[in-house]
């Protein structure tokens, strides 16, 4: 699938893994951290205008509302550039959110596209059956000038999921199980193609969670075949856009570097221990380890969607956050925030003693809104648990799905919702 998309976007009839191509870009994106640097590089090229102001999104997501003067200056650089260039999809504070939830939900990313973004989690959008990958800032500067990008065509590995999911098992557990099996460089430079009956049954929210974390296995992109679930989602977020979709399905004789089967029927919720997303244990093991926690974070481009907040609220409803725990809930986008408000979810969190913040990447990358002190532990629904990821180098981050994180907030230790 990936090879087919890249072939139609280059001047080649067929492309082979390893081949270097210049590919046409359908859509590109930068955020307040990466766009500032991209704009600085764009100026050096000496070109006046971007290739197409309708095919670029600039999203204030990481350090907004501005965390300090430096962040404010960077956000200003992006804002002024957006005005100067007439960037159609510029998202200001209060109208946007985290790009990887925002842009698909606004119907901007469609099947068959080549979509590149100056943020590693751009791969999230691959759940919509497009080629989506993260790039650097100079890359983005080049794309904004040329409308093209140099790419090495990735080889593809196929991952097939069978079985019936147990209660409380989510997309997060599927991708953690996968990274736990293949390792943090198990898919280095490759495309990960997700298929099988389990994937077919998953709603888009869980699918996005899975493709979101392919970069944590070193992959270039993650991709899922187009099906009815994809179609229903697109009808909602991008009505009347069918003429702009291009559906590519895997060939019968498609070449894969490997095919890995997963039996999901025994899968239980998982927890990734510090300091790598591949350092995965089952929730049963984690419960036995009696891991006390100081902070819980529910949000991020991995698990900050409305479906994630609903699950967390279901666990939290009528209960109180443990006295030793700070619980931080951050809806991924402004629209998710509004939906959570309308559905009464924000009230459930507030009543429980959690703080609900405005949409931002914030604490996931130790930016602000929940930075950890030395020796502190956080269970987080985000995607990385590297040394110092959320704050002090001697703090620890455990990754889980929102149900586990919510149950842990109540009990003050890593816990299963069935313990409540």
């Amino acid at each position: 699938m990936t090879e087919k998309i890249l072939a139609t976007h280059s001047c080649e009839r067929h492309v082979k893994p390893g081949q270097l191509i210049m590919a046409k870009v359908d859509f590109c994106m930068g955020n307040d951290v990466t766009a500032a640097l991209a704009i600085k590089e764009f100026r050096k090229i000496g070109v006046e205008r971007v290739f197409d102001p309708e095919r670029i999104a600039l999203v204030a997501s990481h350090y907004v509302p501005n965390k300090d003067v430096g962040a404010a200056e960077q956000a200003k650089v992006m804002r002024q550039f957006a005005i100067e260039q007439g960037i159609k999809h510029y998202y200001e504070v209060g109208r946007g959110g985290i790009e990887h939830v925002l842009l698909p939900d606004n119907g901007l990313i469609l099947p068959g596209m080549v979509y590149v973004g100056a943020d590693s989690h751009t791969c999230t959008a691959g759940a919509l059956s497009c080629f989506a990958t993260g790039i650097g800032s100079t890359d983005l500067a080049a794309v904004m000038a040329l409308g093209e990008i140099w790419l090495r065509v990735p080889a593809t590995m196929k991952l097939v999921y069978y079985g019936k999911l147990n209660e409380w098992v989510m997309g997060k557990d599927i991708i953690l199980a996968t990274i736990g099996r293949i390792g943090v460089n198990g898919a280095l430079y490759k495309a990960m193609e997700f298929t099988g009956p389990v994937i077919e049954q998953l709603p888009m929210s869980d699918r996005f969670t899975i493709t979101n974390m392919v970069v944590e296995a070193g992959a270039k992109n993650g991709i899922m075949p187009f099906d009815e679930v994809t179609q229903d989602y697109l009808m909602k977020v991008a009505p009347c856009s069918q003429d702009r979709w291009e559906v590519y399905l895997p060939d019968e004789d498609a070449q894969y570097t490997e095919v890995i089967d997963f039996d999901c029927s025994q899968l239980e919720p998982l927890v990734a221990y510090p300091y790598l997303p591949s350092n995965v244990r089952t929730i049963s093991e984690a419960v036995k380890d009696k891991i006390s926690i100081d902070q819980v974070f529910i949000g991020s481009c991995t698990n900050g969607r409305i479906e994630d907040l609903r699950i967390a609220a279901k666990v939290i409803r009528g209960r109180k956050v443990h006295p030793n725990v700070r619980m931080i809930v951050i809806p991924a986008t402004h629209r998710v925030w509004q939906m959570a408000l309308a559905e009464g979810l924000l009230e459930i969190f507030a009543e429980a003693g959690a703080v609900v913040a405005a949409e931002t990447c914030g604490p996931c990358l130790g930016g602000y809104m929940g930075v950890l002190a030395s020796g502190e532990r956080c269970i987080s629904t985000s995607n990385r648990n590297f040394i110092g990821r959320m704050g002090h180098p001697q703090s620890e981050v455990f990754l889980s799905n929102p149900a586990i994180a919510a149950a842990s907030a109540i009990l003050g230790r890593i816990a299963h919702p069935d313990e409540l």
Partner: protein, 177 residues
């Protein structure tokens, strides 16, 4: 355009600073410092979570050597910029995470993929690399290694002095078409 300096056809020589596997971009430059794009400013915090005295130990021209999957994690180009800002002239690793690899090529920071050289090198070894041939000499140990050669296309970017110059050339080609 001084950016990206001359990287091909140049021999680099420096002392080794050795790191392990899976050195991620949060270790290379923590996100809280991503409020500037200035490489010397970023360099002050390079490797802070895992080796806080690293920037002060680097002499201009030194070589960073690492294991598997160097630069995994975020797309932040601030990571190779921070390393460049410390004075490191080249990175040798067993393998690189893909966005870091792109970013290094694009900003003109020389990188070489060579498992045997990376495996063998120790802190303080004196290494000389020939970026054109990919030959790496460990002068302390008296050994020679061969790095993966760059594909032609990437050599064009490197020889242009980074992606920005490459893009300029491509835009000129379009105009003259």
């Amino acid at each position: 355009m001084s950016r990206g300096a001359q990287t091909m056809g140049t021999k680099l020589r420096g002392r080794v600073h050795k790191f392990g596997d899976h050195i991620d971009t949060d270790a290379i430059i923590p996100a809280r410092y991503l409020v500037t794009t200035d490489e010397s400013e970023l360099a002050k915090h390079c490797m802070e979570p895992i080796d806080p005295s690293f920037p002060s130990r680097v002499a201009r021209g030194d070589i960073l050597v690492a294991g598997e999957n160097f630069g995994c994690g975020s797309s932040r180009e601030h990571a190779p910029l921070a390393i460049k800002g410390t004075g490191i002239s080249c990175i040798i690793a067993k393998s690189f995470a893909r966005i870091f690899y792109r970013n290094a090529i694009n900003i003109g920071l020389p990188i070489l993929e060579c498992a045997s050289a990376a495996e063998e090198a120790e802190d303080g070894d004196l290494i000389e690399c020939d970026l054109e041939s990919g030959v790496i000499l460990n002068l302390t140990k008296g050994t020679q290694h061969q790095a993966e050669p760059f594909p032609e296309f990437m050599r064009q970017i490197i020889e242009s002095g980074g992606l920005i110059n490459f893009v300029r050339r491509r835009l000129e080609e379009r105009k003259s078409r």
